[in-house]
């Protein structure tokens, strides 16, 4: 899975330049080779995917591929398993990305601002270590943690608490937690950067005016890092929407289909059931979900305070 490491700058409303803008086609010339490459290696496969989504292509069991129009999409909307996957994807995204990674990342970043250097270094490296681990490895680590004979239950037993069997009873919670564990570092880094950008004078002035910690945070810090919040939410959501390896390694979407989010559902349809056309159509729908989220965030970021 591609991890987006470059944090895109929040879009800004560029004020119209004075004077008429003259289009200079020559400016595009140096970009042409890169554009062609992108079209070829990025645009091509995407266009091919869009085409497949409207066919009944199969990996095996059928030799011909026919154009079937909107059949795959109709099938998806009438498919209980697909609906289940959409719901679980939303739950997974809300829990692990919006609530978990985002809040925890902001809290960590805010706390680390005040911490002494050694504490900061230690916390930072532990959190980032979880992020650096490849997804599949993280999946197996957390599987070992949540398993019935895993670390979590050994700890609970030691404390005299009843043991849990999360991977079986509440698998979607277990994988959400795993995703929080793994992805918080990214939010923490974004927010650390954003918080360090806030001029000291402003917070000090508020302090002099008698604003308490909470109200300073609410009225000054949050509005000032609003753009970072938007950017971070968007990146986080898009990453979380496409999480596959983590869930695959921990539960394979099971038991039943209780942790089958859209990417796992897609894989299952395309490769276990060999329905490549249908799987690709679901991939396009997943893309739509991601686009919707992105649009919402963009709107949020544009509003003036």
């Amino acid at each position: 899975m591609a991890t987006v490491t470059k944090v895109a700058a929040a879009p800004t409303e560029t004020p119209a330049r004075p004077g008429p803008r003259r289009g200079r086609p020559l400016r595009w010339l140096p970009l042409a080779p890169a554009t062609v490459m992108l079209l070829l290696f990025l645009g091509g496969p995407i266009a091919y995917c869009v085409y497949i989504a409207f066919t009944n292509m199969q990996l095996t069991g059928a030799s011909s591929t026919d154009f079937v129009g909107l059949d795959n999409f109709q099938r998806a909307f009438g498919d209980d398993d697909f609906r289940n996957a959409v719901v679980l994807t939303l739950v997974f995204t809300l829990l692990s990305s919006l609530v978990g990674q985002n809040t925890l990342g902001l809290a960590l970043a805010a706390l680390m601002q005040r911490a002494s250097r050694p504490v900061r270094t230690l916390t930072g490296s532990i959190v980032i270590a979880a992020w650096v681990v490849p997804e599949i490895v993280a999946g197996f680590l957390l599987y070992a943690f949540f398993r019935r004979e895993g670390t979590l239950n050994a700890l609970l037993d030691g404390l005299g608490l009843p043991s849990q069997n999360w991977l079986y009873t509440l698998p979607i919670l277990a994988v959400s937690f795993a995703n929080v564990w793994r992805g918080t570092a990214f939010s923490m880094l974004v927010y650390s950067a954003a918080l360090s950008e806030i001029p000291k004078e402003i917070t000090e002035a508020a302090e002099v005016d008698g604003a308490g910690g909470m109200s300073r945070f609410w009225h000054i810090t949050l509005p000032m890092i609003r753009r970072s919040i938007g950017t971070n939410l968007m990146l986080n959501t898009l990453q979380t929407l496409s999480v596959f390896g983590l869930i695959w390694a921990m539960t394979r979407g099971g038991p039943g289909n209780r942790s089958q989010t859209l990417p796992v559902f897609m894989y299952d349809q395309a490769f276990n059931k060999s329905l490549i056309g249908y799987g690709t159509a679901v991939a396009l729908l997943l893309l739509l979900v991601g686009a919707l989220f992105s649009l919402v965030y963009l709107r949020l970021m544009r509003e003036e305070v």
Partner: protein, 458 residues
């Protein structure tokens, strides 16, 4: 919108990369046979690799200037099949020879991935040594043969005599019907705490392992002798989930709801098959296992989990029919075949390699190291084979009672649907009736409406 466009593109790619992936292939060389096979996911198990390396050596010696390139794919069965199917889609990446599970071969034939071998088989004397059921294993709906089988397997009950002694059960246990199995399991649960009484695979994660080793072993023991509880070959129609189907699900439900089986989360673990032979059975944690004839290979000196006492500790019993009705015993058989791909550039050379694999010596050796049941008359009578492994005569004896899975292209999809029904019934997410009902719905869409109601079953 500018900065987000690339992000959305990146997400698209991430979401769809898997669906369009297509590896660059090496150009094919007219003097090299590219052979693709599945390597065990257990790193200690390498007898297939060693055997193929040996045959490769013989082949290269016998055919100077020709080479064999072995391409192992280390993956679970489902993933192996997916990978090979993707390789076979393009002439750039298509191997010459593939190791194909009979369970998928018809699906791949229909997809046009394989080539018929009739012209080669017609000139091949050894083909007469193959038993008829084996010849039919890779025969497609068009009447042509697409693969050469190298062995088969049967299934039955393995039980631990030591645990049985503790529970006061006989060492020559031979259940007459499903109830006898449940009774024995309940006795063990009562008298030998801490031991899992009975393992029957279930659910989607173990894949075909659950469907064949457990569900079909039950299903084919329901109804009248000679019935077709899953697929009616005469009418070319799939049979919907009738009473036998629901009874098989109920049996599984009983095993798991009465806690006669492993903990349900262990049962639904994709690696449970490996756990059974590498941990539960050797460590005496499991009393009865409904499993395959090949288990013994793992406990040999050369196996992944050497266990010298296994042949003394474990007994075998045939799987009985539901109520002990004729023929009284039931088994399922599968097996693997060697097939030549449609896009192969060197089919003749690939055929030569199949012949090398099937010299009598190699065929005997292979059936012994892979603990396969012989599909050739000459191999089955070979003293090296008959004395190779305790229990081999027992499992070879089950061939009389065995059933083969429907050889139709959509079988793998049906199998997936069965796995889902099993999982729903086992976890209690759905009653056996409801699980059978949703199986019917899926079946209708998979078989394009070609279904028939189950006949009345007593």
């Amino acid at each position: 919108m500018r900065p987000t466009a690339p992000l959305i593109l990146a997400a698209t790619l991430a979401a769809t990369a898997g669906l369009t992936s297509c590896g660059g292939g090496s150009g094919s060389d007219p003097d090299t046979v590219k052979v693709v096979y599945n390597r065990s996911t257990d790193n200690k198990i390498r007898f297939k690799d060693n055997h193929l390396a040996e045959v490769k050596k013989q082949f290269e010696k016998a055919n100077p200037g020709k080479k064999v390139k072995l391409v192992p794919i280390q993956a679970q069965d489902n993933d192996y099949a997916t990978k090979v199917q993707q390789m076979m889609r393009s002439p750039k990446t298509a191997p010459d020879l593939v190791y194909e599970d009979t369970f998928r071969i018809n699906s791949d034939i229909k997809a046009g991935y394989l080539r018929p071998l009739d012209s080669y088989l017609a000139k091949w004397k050894t083909w007469d040594q193959f038993v008829d059921t084996a010849k039919a294993a890779a025969k497609a709906e068009d009447g042509k043969t697409y693969g050469v089988p190298d062995g088969t397997d049967t299934r039955g009950l393995w039980f631990n005599k030591k645990i049985f002694a503790k529970a006061g059960l006989p060492a020559d246990w031979s259940p007459k019907n499903w109830d006898d199995i449940l009774k024995a399991a309940r006795t063990i649960k009562r008298k030998v705490p801490g031991v899992t009484p009975l393992n029957t695979y279930t659910g989607k994660a173990p894949g075909e392992t659950s469907v064949m080793q457990s569900f079909e072993m039950l299903l084919y023991g329901t109804g009248e002798a000679g019935g077709n509880p899953l697929y009616d070959p005469g009418a070319k129609k799939w049979v919907t989930g009738g009473k036998g189907f629901q009874d098989a699900l109920s049996f599984l439900r009983t095993v798991y709801s009465e806690k006669l089986g492993p903990d349900i989360s262990d049962a639904l673990d994709p690696n449970v098959g490996t756990t059974v032979f590498s941990e539960w059975l050797p460590e005496g944690k499991l009393a009865i296992a409904l499993d395959g004839s090949w288990l013994g290979q793992n406990w040999l000196k050369t196996g992944g989990k050497p266990w010298p006492e296994w042949s003394k500790t474990l007994g075998q019993a045939p799987m009985p029919t539901q109520n002990g009705q004729a023929p009284g015993k039931v088994s399922m058989s599968g097996g693997w075949t060697w097939a030549i791909t449609a896009k192969s550039k060197n089919p003749d050379l690939a055929w030569k390699f199949i012949q090398q694999l099937q010299t009598k010596e190699n065929a005997v050796t292979w059936d012994i190291v892979d603990a396969q049941i012989a599909v050739r008359k000459d191999v089955a009578q070979d003293p090296k084979y008959t004395s190779s492994m305790p229990g081999i005569t027992f499992f070879t004896g089950l061939v009389k009672y065995t059933h083969y899975r429907p050889t139709t292209p959509v079988y793998p999809q049906v199998s997936t649907a069965i796995g889902e029904a099993m999982e729903a019934a086992t976890t209690g997410d759905a009653s056996p009736e409801k699980a059978a009902k949703s199986y019917d719905d899926q079946l209708t869409s998979i078989a394009d409406g070609a279904t028939v109601a189950a006949s009345g079953q007593g």
